[in-house]
């Protein structure tokens, strides 16, 4: 299990290669990548604030729960903070399991939990100014399925 919180960009290809390489027990590797996208037109940048210390602890806790719930060989979470621009990769998760069902479900679980239980706050910068991204009711509802 590896949890990384960093300001710098990450190399998706290299990370996946490093994560997937040399595994002989896992028949399934699932990866998910979150990208800064333009929702309403006019988004220029995204600033991500985080609670240093608590972020790492929260992500480790979420990853530990995923590993205890599904039969995973390994999992990886990388999440960035700081100033990002349109098209930048914000975060990624990867899971390795014997079977794909475990790998897919655990990846979704990681995503659902880190959306509303890891202390990150997004601020969108547009042509018309900037504002904090509001949390969605759906994000909270998504947790109830686990």
């Amino acid at each position: 299990m590896r949890v990384v919180v960093q300001e710098a960009p990450f190399d998706l290809g290299k990370e996946v290669e490093k994560f997937a390489g040399g595994r002989t027990l896992s028949g399934a590797i699932v990866t998910f990548t979150g990208v800064v996208r333009d929702v309403n037109g006019g988004l220029q940048a995204m600033e991500i604030e985080h609670y240093s210390g608590m972020t790492e602890t929260a992500l480790l806790e979420i990853a530990t729960k995923a590993e205890s719930r599904w039969s995973l060989e390994d999992c990886l979470v990388i999440h960035r903070y700081g100033n990002l621009v349109l098209g930048d990769m914000i975060m990624m998760v990867a899971t390795a399991a014997r079977h794909r069902k475990d790998a897919f479900e655990a990846a979704e679980y990681l995503m659902d939990y880190l959306k509303s239980r890891a202390p990150f706050w997004k601020r969108e910068v547009t042509h018309n100014g900037s504002g904090w991204v509001a949390s969605l009711e759906d994000d909270e509802t998504a947790l109830s399925r686990w």
């Binding site: 509303s116 890891a118 202390p119």
Partner: protein, 81 residues
């Protein structure tokens, strides 16, 4: 204890962290103490349903006791991912 603010809570309060030394029982007592101080705290803590609190970096709630707590953080619902 250290009191930390994040995102728009930080903006409304006007600072990222401060030290509060007072004898308080619960998180709610701390909120009341802050609200009595200045208008900016009243604005930041106007609606507790849109606020979250962490005690020593663990999510908690407003009725939780502050016994032995060294760090309190207030912030809006998280928007990671």
């Amino acid at each position: 204890m250290d009191v930390l603010y994040f995102a728009w809570v930080r903006e409304r309060v006007g600072l990222p962290r401060e030290v509060i030394d007072a004898n308080l029982n619960t998180v709610m007592d701390l909120v009341e103490l802050l609200r009595e101080r200045e208008e900016r705290y009243v604005l930041a803590f106007a609606d507790l349903s849109v606020l979250r609190v962490a005690l020593d970096q663990k999510l908690s709630d407003f009725n939780a006791p502050l016994t032995d707590v060294r760090e309190v953080a207030f912030f809006p619902p998280m928007t990671g991912g």
